[in-house]
Symmetry: C2
Subunit: 219 residues, 2 copies
């Protein structure tokens, strides 16, 4: 079992606590596109990503989406266990962006250990602070950055995550990440294409001038 | 000393921990308008509000502001002690919105107790989750609500905080709360006035039809 290697404070737990976790762990495979946690409807448990990629987002009443943060290998998601703390008063949806292997720690187990373990409570604090930082970054983006800069930053980030300049992504999906209407994204991408920064084709955006995109980001 | 009554988990700390806190507490009075904590420049310590009102906000490079959350009597501020956790990667400014009495707990003291005390670490978790909920609410407002709804909600919230329908507030200050240019706020308030919902005069906004404002909120 490799779970131990993915859980940074494993050695600070007591043997009893370690066995409680190991004895209750659920292993799950989620295919790309699967919704793993759905808002306030359930209290799924804590998710620890073994491999793959998850996306946490919120939905408007009209069905618009915006990505709040993403989780990669070794990241843990607390907000899929929102029933764990009464102060968590918001609903988040979590879906697999790639085929993902993950562990689910049941809420009652985690909660009962956290109540007595300062190391686990402090680790949880660090994770929450880290997500908080993601969300503050997002607010700054939404408030102070124009959409062209946000789109340029998004394309460069995707290229970095995927390790390629040819992104397999639709305008619809970009709209869902950035919280903007699809037509607005399409218009901006066409402008980028006219400026020689990207080349658009069905389901693909190829970055043709990353330097110029970076200039847009920093403008 | 009344500090104990303002600190919910006081009885879950050991006598040694209690004395560490009491021995290091700083009492501070902040006049309305005082900046108590200034972004990344300092690590002020944890703030516990005895009376008064604080405002936490972020600043753009161009000097625009947006309110992230407010702190009232008995609220504690963690992010004025951002050096406490390495995962806190954002800068917040905290200013007194009213004359405020507060206690400052030094970071090193809080941090060293939190490292060994599960109750304090869990309490810190709850506070952070509560601020997280504020921030998620804010993102939803910015993303999905139009400015007229945000202004209507802000006026009703202010009236509730102040216990009066006659608000002493400038358009400039509202702009800084909501993260919008002042002229845009002024234009919307004039529209509200034409619709009979408010009456504007220098430095004052009187709510004349709260019911209609609520309809705007929920529209």
């Amino acid at each position: 079992m490799e779970f131990q290697n993915y859980f940074p404070i494993w050695n600070k737990l007591t043997p009893v606590q370690q066995n409680q976790i190991l004895g209750s762990l659920v292993i799950r495979k989620a295919e790309k596109g699967t919704v793993i946690h759905n808002g306030s409807m359930d209290c799924t448990g804590l998710l620890l990503v073994k491999s793959g990629q998850l996306r946490a987002y919120i939905l408007s009443e009209e069905g618009r989406e915006i990505t709040i943060y993403r989780l990669f290998e070794r990241d843990m998601c607390l907000f899929s266990a929102s029933c764990m703390m009464r102060s968590i008063q918001f609903d988040i949806t979590i879906a697999a962006e790639k085929d993902t292997d993950l562990w689910i720690i049941p809420v009652e187990v985690y909660q009962s250990i956290m109540a007595e373990s300062a190391p686990l409570a402090n680790y949880t604090n660090e994770i929450m602070a880290s997500r908080f930082s993601d969300v503050m970054w997002l607010i700054e983006q939404i408030m102070w950055k124009s959409l062209d800069r946000r789109i340029a930053a998004f394309l460069l980030e995707e290229a970095s995550i995927e390790g390629t300049d040819t992104l397999k992504i639709t305008h619809e999906i970009m709209a869902n990440h950035l919280g903007s209407p699809r037509e607005v994204i399409t218009r901006m991408l066409k402008y980028f294409q006219n400026e020689g920064m990207v080349r658009l084709s069905r389901g693909t955006i190829a970055i043709t001038d990353a330097e110029k995109l970076e200039e847009v980001c920093e403008a």
